[in-house]
């Protein structure tokens, strides 16, 4: 009894493996059918278009190659002198028009279905930054509950060919977006700096994330699993290094995780009134710096002048604390320096500013606590 069960599941596993292998093979050179109803109808539409093009190609190229082979001078063919035929011209105007209509009909139907963004079970704000994504889970009134950043997790050594590349090279993040299976999730897309584009091929939809504009799209994913995509609008230096990873969890599992996150959010809020030791500030600061600052100012604080200035020995990181807090919180207009006040909380700002003032030879000796950051913000 037990053995047959093992045998059965092994067989099922094999079939499944074989199934995914062929799907994987196929997706190397064709569009992925994807996992949502929409992505399936997009795939069907794509294949319809493809076969129509193939059919037209066979006819047109067939005629051209036929005349290349048979109507050549070296084969002794004499040139006919016919030209102009209104009947033919009308024919090859009308027939393509009819073919176009057969394509337009399913396309319109699919497009209308895609635009049906109402009736969602939950909404998530997706915000593009140079070069990472921020995900915020919204409540029913579209107010933020909790959120986090999601950035590339592939080590620099793999990118610079110093170590072997992993299976999900460039398609892996530190913290994937998590959504529940079988629920209609509506994504509200926008951007902080330049235009980005959020794309998970398996969901069959792509929308630009544009500063100052909120776009929306949606997905109902029946299959739990990990789905990977990339930013698809040129957004500067590290455009190729901001993947999108979505982990679809079974509903119950998602609900448990969601409740956990809400609790963690409470803990985070408490930290804002805490006083940290210098070691805690250094440790937390280094982590924040690595995620948010190092891409431009570089891990060694040397920056990439002139666009990204050095922090080591810089007038700001060794000068008055207020000015340093100001540029980190509010950014610098007309430059690539972002306003991190919107991205980081007071505890993180305090830590990273402390870290910058006490690293790479900088040593101002002053201590920065979350309360200082809050005082600075409210003092403005």
């Amino acid at each position: 009894m037990k053995r047959s069960w093992i045998k059965g599941s092994a067989l099922a596993g094999l079939t499944l493996l074989a199934g995914t292998a062929t799907a994987e093979e196929l997706s190397k050179y064709n569009m992925r059918p994807g996992v949502t109803e929409i992505s399936h109808s997009v795939y069907d539409l794509h294949m319809l278009l493809f076969w129509i093009c193939v059919a037209i190609g066979v006819v047109v190229f067939g005629a051209i190659f036929w005349s290349i082979i048979h109507h050549r001078k070296s084969a002794g063919h004499q040139a006919a002198q016919f030209h102009e035929s209104t009947r033919l011209e009308i024919g090859w105007t009308l027939i393509p028009t009819l073919i176009l209509i057969t394509m337009a009909y399913p396309a319109t139907k699919t497009l209308i279905a895609m635009y049906d963004t109402g009736g969602e079970d939950m909404s998530i704000e997706v915000r593009g930054y140079q070069w990472k994504w921020q995900y915020k889970y919204l409540d029913e009134d579209l107010n933020g509950t909790f959120g986090f950043f999601s950035s590339l997790a592939t080590p620099q050594d793999e990118i610079h060919n110093k170590s072997a590349k992993g299976e999900h090279y460039l398609l892996e993040v530190d913290k994937p977006l998590r959504i529940p299976a079988n629920r209609k999730v509506r994504f509200l897309l926008t951007a902080e700096d330049v235009i980005h584009s959020w794309w998970v091929p398996d969901f069959g939809m792509k929308r630009d994330a544009i500063p100052g504009i909120i776009n929306d799209m949606w997905a109902i994913v029946p299959e739990p699993g990990v789905y990977r995509g990339q930013c698809t609008e040129l957004c500067g230096k590290d455009h190729g290094f901001m993947p999108v990873v979505v982990e679809v969890l079974p509903e119950a599992e998602f609900d448990a995780w969601y409740a956990e996150q809400l609790q963690a959010e409470e803990v985070r809020k408490e930290a804002l009134s805490k006083t940290f030791t210098t070691d805690e500030l250094m440790a937390q600061g280094e982590q924040v710096y690595g995620t948010f600052c190092a891409a431009c100012h570089q891990p060694n604080g040397q920056g990439m002048p002139p666009v990204f200035p050095a922090l080591a020995g810089s007038a700001i990181a060794t000068g008055p604390l207020d000015a340093h807090l100001d540029i980190v919180l509010n950014g610098k207009a007309g430059t690539a320096m972002q306003a991190f006040g919107k991205q980081l909380d007071a505890a993180q700002i305090a830590a990273v500013v402390y870290y910058e003032r006490h690293s790479w030879g900088n040593n101002t000796g002053d201590i920065v606590q979350p309360s200082d950051v809050i005082a600075h913000t409210s003092g403005q």
Binding site: V60, G204, G236
Partner: protein, 534 residues
């Protein structure tokens, strides 16, 4: 056949060119200026080609090997800008300069001094653009489409040079197109009515109007950028009440007619070459003219199909989808007409014909992917992937570029009075044909599999196709050196060409001696049925 009596050489007032550098700097002769345009275009083609090879070298394998991402972005941007504005467009203007006066039976272009100016702006514009690569902060790195705010708030300081460069190119194009329109409308020989003009002249006339209509729009877009960057306006800055999407609307209102500016003259060239080597008149002259005009009109109402993902309302998406699909109809008419011209002909396959046939087939493949891209729901999956890269390279390389190469082979004997080496030409064709397909066909696959464009490094599943693509790019790139060698060899030591050059050639340019005299037709030629469409 040739009833035209052309007076040249022995006439006293018919002076030849100046000597030395002055000939090229101060020339007002349409042939000299055409030559300048063509050599300039070839130089830019080589520079843009080196950039393409840098891109393909970096993409040969996954990982960062040769260039850093910041420089990679400068390469993709400048490759695009140089190929579009420096290689393809000036090549067509060069061909128009050489051919339009000869084809309509005129002595020269209508506005010769402006002709000189419109060429000599270009080297300065491109010297300035390319010099930014050596400046602090690097050159333009925001893609040839330069979407705001990446090209404004987040751009390197050198963007101001880029803006000035684009303004200069635009001024050059506008002057060039005014000249072409003035020549075609005013300088045709008696009897050369509009509906008797060669199709190359027709397509250029329509192209020149497109240029006049959209280059000022491009100038407006870059001027608004300039103001956003330096004078505190917020046209495209959301934080100041501006709209980044408006930039894209303005850009593509220029950009979509622009892509037809790069293909309509190609249609004209192919419509000249195929009848010659099929020894059979063009199947449907009138419908070719009407199809060209329809494509030109439609090009103004489809621009937002480049922006299906920006979040337009459903009605807008549907309008732009349907309008875009309509373009397939006149384009199909053209392809069917070329096929019908070859049908029952008596074809020979000299190098210009090979490039022209390759144009028809491969441009049609680019048309198919274009049709697929027009379908909005499918476009969401294709948009900004390598599928798009494959699509526009198919219409621009074996499309526009092949037509230019075909034109050079076809008219070179008329220009310099010498025949090119046919077997070398065929070698050039086959290497280019194989190279182009090995480069760009696999990009359809990597795009469908999900590889975004404009990335310096990619996930492992795209590795095979990228390697193949890079190998193809090397074959294609280096085989263009054969072309250069062949042209120089022809000019220096080619066999003398006959006046008619090709057995099946018709048109006024073939009634002139080879090489064509410095001033084309000092007396208006008689337009016979044999030399004009009737």
């Amino acid at each position: 056949m040739s009833e035209v009596v052309v007076s040249h050489h022995d006439e006293h007032h018919d002076h030849g060119p100046d000597k030395g550098l002055a000939r090229w700097l101060f020339t007002t002769n349409h042939k000299d200026i055409g030559t300048l345009y063509l050599w300039f275009s070839f130089t830019m083609f080589m520079i843009g080609g080196v950039m393409a090879l840098i891109i393909r070298t970096e993409l040969f394998q996954p990982g960062l090997q040769f260039v850093d991402p910041a420089f990679f972005n400068q390469m993709t941007t400048n490759h695009g800008l140089i190929m579009v504005f420096g290689a393809i467009m000036p090549a067509f203007v060069g061909l128009a300069n050489w051919l339009v006066p000869m084809m309509v039976g005129a002595p020269d272009m209508a506005l010769p001094r402006m002709n000189n100016l419109s060429f000599w702006i270009l080297p300065f514009a491109f010297a300035m653009l390319i010099s930014t690569l050596f400046m602090e902060g690097g050159g333009p790195n925001f893609g040839w489409t330069f979407y705001a705010p990446l090209s404004t708030t987040y751009a390197p300081d050198t963007v101001t040079f880029f803006i000035f460069g684009v303004h200069m190119m635009g001024a050059s194009s506008i002057m060039g197109s005014i000249n072409i329109i003035a020549t075609i409308l005013n300088m045709r020989a008696p009897g050369m009515t509009l509906m008797k003009m060669p199709l190359f002249v027709w397509t250029w006339l329509i192209t020149a109007y497109l240029l006049l209509a959209v280059m000022p729009v491009l100038a407006g877009a870059v001027t608004m950028m300039l103001f956003d960057i330096h004078f505190g306006t917020s046209f495209f800055n959301a934080a100041g009440g501006g709209d980044p999407v408006m930039f894209q609307h303005i850009f593509w209102f220029f950009g979509h007619p622009e892509v037809y500016i790069m293909i309509l003259p190609a249609f004209g060239i192919v419509s000249q070459i195929i009848p010659t080597f099929a020894r059979k008149p063009l199947f449907g002259y009138d419908s070719m003219v009407y199809a060209t005009a329809s494509i030109a009109f439609l090009s103004f109402i489809v621009w937002a199909h480049h922006m299906f993902t920006v979040g337009m309302p459903l009605a807008g998406q549907l309008f732009f989808m349907y309008a875009t699909m309509l373009i397939a109809v006149p384009t199909g008419v053209k392809v069917f007409n070329w096929a019908a011209t070859m049908w029952q002909g008596s074809m020979t396959f000299e190098t210009p014909m090979l490039f022209a046939i390759a144009f028809v087939v491969l441009f049609t493949i680019g048309g198919f992917s274009g049709l697929m891209l027009a379908i909005t729901p499918a476009d969401y999956q294709y948009h900004d992937t390598y599928f798009v890269v494959a699509h526009f390279h198919y219409v621009l390389v074996p499309g526009a570029l092949f037509s230019i190469i075909a034109a050079v082979y076809y008219w070179l004997p008329k220009w310099c009075g010498r025949m090119y080496d046919e077997s070398l030409g065929k070698l050039h064709f086959w290497l280019s044909f194989i190279g182009v397909n090995v480069t760009f066909f696999p990009q359809h696959f990597s795009g469908l599999a999900g590889m975004p464009r404009r990335i310096p490094d990619y996930a492992l599943q795209f590795a095979d196709f990228n390697m193949l693509s890079s190998i193809g790019a090397y074959i294609f790139g280096f085989s263009q050196l054969i072309f250069l060698y062949l042209i120089i060899k022809t000019i220096r030591s080619g066999e003398p060409a006959t006046d008619r050059v090709w057995e099946g050639a018709h048109g006024l340019e073939w009634t002139l001696p080879s090489p064509a005299p410095y001033h084309s037709f000092t007396h208006p030629p008689k337009v016979t049925d044999a030399e004009a469409h009737s």
